[in-house]
Amino acid sequence: MKTKLKAIAAVLVLVTLLAGCVGQEKAPETKTIFIFGSSGDAVRLDPADVTDGESIQRMDNIHEGLVEYDGGTTNIRACLATDWNVSDDKKTITFNLRKGVQFHHGFGEVTADDVVFSFARQYDSSNWYYDKGEWAYWGYMYTDIESVEKLDTYKVAIHMRQPNASIMTSLAMFTVCIVSEKAAQQYGEDYFKNPVGTGPFEFVEWVKDDHITLRAFEDYWRDPPQIDELVFKVIPDPSARLMALQAGEVHGIEHVDPKQLDIIKNDPKLQLISQAGMNVGYIALNCGEGYVDANENGKWDSGEEVDVTGAFEPFNDVRVRQAIAHAIDKDAIVRNLYQGAATAANQGMPPVLFGYNNAITGYEYNPQKARDLLTAAGYPDGFEVVLWHMPVSRPYFPVPTEIAEAIQADLAEVGITVELFTEDWGTYLQDTEAGKHAMAMLGWTGDNGDPDNFLNVLYSQDKATVGSAGNIGFKKNPEFQDLLNRALLTYDQDERGALYEQANKLLVDQCSHVFIAHADQNLAFLSTVHGYVIHPTSRKFFYPVWVEEEGGAGLGTLFVALLLVGGIVLRIKRK
């Protein structure tokens, strides 16, 4: 008798709960949660102190800068600044700040002090926050900024050491997003775990290696976002990510494996968003012309050449380098290993950028020509060399091991015996920066849509510093450097473009890098997701996204609950 009563009670309670659930499902104030399947966790949540795509992806939805990209382009529009003007000598840019913009979590209004703090902490060693971060990107791209000055509460000026035509696009980057000085004071070194910005979403929680939750910021200066909660869920395995999407556990995923493109295209419940990516994957041939820069001023310490550990003697001959370029069948690699989701590369930067040289045809696949070049260079029987490939898939090299194996086979065709080598990704980056490789696969995804961000960072002699090299081909070319320097002082877009086109030609001729491909950027979403605008820099902004309501959810819950009730009743009966 007692058990019977219990059973009835249990059923009653459950049915009541159930009714509650179903009722809530239909209520208008339903919380919209958007879950994004990321390939890795963020490292830090301080926009000025991150370099990896995963961290940037979170930051971009929490923070905002003075200016921002206009939709899916790399053109600039106003954001926290309403307008700006450039002085005649092009060395001072004055910004008027938007009034009344609030920081998250009640940290007050954005003022010139916050702007100055956000910049000064990265370059001014007397700033109280300077020693709390590494500020890597500042060194990469902002060293031309001399200082940032507060003119009044809503006005700041950026003073430049020299004119730099790429600075406005750089100002739309995450590195110079505005953070709250008050929050930095409150959290100190732990700011990176408690970010406070002005963006559409505010930070809620971070469960390491699992997820980061953000929620809509009610006092956002534009209309609040249409999703109430934005969750970044970490799913490292590409297959697992796709399965999570198919199961509806996440609403969107990044870094879609090229092999999965057809599955997504053929699934009516999914949509694929693709774009020619702003990236390049290349093989650097170590020519050994690095330099040491102990005092880190970007100049040689002495005029002498230094030993680059991995420098490979045959690569001193441009004919050998060109032979390698001729020997690799890029089209086959693009067709079969990128599944066609890429463009074969013939120069060092992607075609979406201005300054891309359409006249360059690159080195066509021609094994006979490669053999002839090798013979002319004195290597009729080829040689042995080690090719480094990364252990993780990157946007520009989705399947690096397979690509390396394909290149190995191509080079074997012309008599070059290639041994493959790989190591832990972090160590790989360090070792290639230190020039320990002979041939290494690496690549780059553009930050700001400026050619300088490719040509200067990856191929210039100034960046051939052993130990922190961006140019891991270690080839010095003063003429190339000179063109880049001149381009930075030229504000006329066409003139600048012409200079970069010349530079691209020089780079291809010297052949210190063999360019493989520019991979498409692929994202997949449920077809109920709308409004996402893909960005060429791979940055992800979820502000415009909205999710269609699913009708079946209530019924699903009902079904599961009924099963539960049934199960409980059965269990009690058995007793």
């Binding site: 297959s239 599955i263 194996e405 086979a409 493959l420």
Partner: protein, 298 residues
């Protein structure tokens, strides 16, 4: 007829007879024989060069499908290489890692086990504490740490697995030595003044062979599994080696895209070799050392 019954059977004949009766053991032996033959004779049996890359015939199915290419019986992998040929050549790598690692473990294990078991006292204490320390870690984790420290590569994987299995072998040998040491014939040897070396090599070692052989066979199975696991985790064999674990690891991403064969066949190869060794090992245990039946813990 009577003569035959009286005829004294040697130990080996005895074991062979027992093994013949054991069907599953014979099945294991046969399977192992086939696997080893195909691997060792890979250049003879493989229909294609295992390193012959042709991107335009990538991930083609095998005999079961009309889309398959003639001559590529199990299909091709992501780089268009013949899967069957790669399995044969991969067997050479995977099996040799297993055998070399096992050889190392047996050699070191006998050395450690005999010195600990026979000499006892302080030697026993020191050796067995080292063994205990190594035992404290899960085998694969220890192998990963060792391989990680030594660096990537097949030779390092061999050494890593060898080190991991040494303590197990040392324990087995020590146990055997301890019991043999107490027997009367050893006492007799002592009495007639035989040298220590003579006692060890003439009596102790030959008499401990039974458990060593049994455990070696079973250990070989797990060593092969570990070799594949290290390859899978990226610290063992390196591309473009056709090693089974590596092949499995690199091809598993094609499982969801429908090209199931690229990962499935290396997996089956690992499975079959492990099963064959386990069946053989069980049979050998029954035949050689019935006391061990019921499973002494490794």
């Amino acid at each position: 007829m009577a003569e035959e019954e009286i005829k004294r059977r040697t130990r080996i004949q005895d074991v062979t007879r027992q093994m013949r009766k054991n069907k599953s053991a014979m099945f294991g032996l046969g399977l192992l024989f086939i696997i080893v033959t195909l691997s060792v004779g890979a250049p003879l049996f493989a229909p294609h060069d295992p390193h012959d890359v042709d991107l335009d015939r990538q991930l083609k199915p095998g005999f079961w499908s009309d889309d398959g290419l003639p001559g590529f019986y199990l299909g091709t992998d992501a780089l268009g290489r013949d899967l069957l040929s790669r399995l044969f050549y991969g067997g050479r790598v995977t099996l040799s890692v297993g055998f070399v690692a096992l050889g190392f473990a047996v050699g070191m294990g006998i050395l450690m086990g005999i010195s600990a078991g026979y000499f006892g006292g302080a030697v026993d204490n020191v050796v067995m504490r080292i063994v205990d320390i190594l035992f404290a870690y899960p085998a694969l984790l220890l192998a990963l740490v060792v391989a990680g420290t030594l660096g990537r590569g097949i030779d390092k994987a061999m050494l890593a697995i060898g080190i991991v299995y040494t303590p197990q072998m040392a324990r087995v040998v020590r146990g055997a030595v301890l019991s043999i040491k107490e027997t009367e014939y050893i006492e007799a040897e002592h009495a007639i003044g035989s040298s220590t070396w003579r006692i060890i090599f003439k009596h102790v070692l030959p008499n401990s062979l039974a458990p060593i052989i049994v455990y070696s066979t079973l250990m070989l199975a797990t060593a092969i599994l570990d070799a594949a696991a290290l390859g899978f985790l990226g610290v063992g064999a390196q591309a473009p080696s056709p090693e089974w674990g590596l092949a499995l690891s690199l091809s598993r991403k094609y499982l969801v895209t429908g090209a199931w064969w690229a990962a499935t066949f290396p997996g089956i190869a690992i499975l079959l070799s492990v099963i064959s060794l386990n069946l053989l090992g069980d049979g050998l245990r029954d035949a050689l050392d019935p006391r061990l039946k019921g499973g002494a813990k490794l």
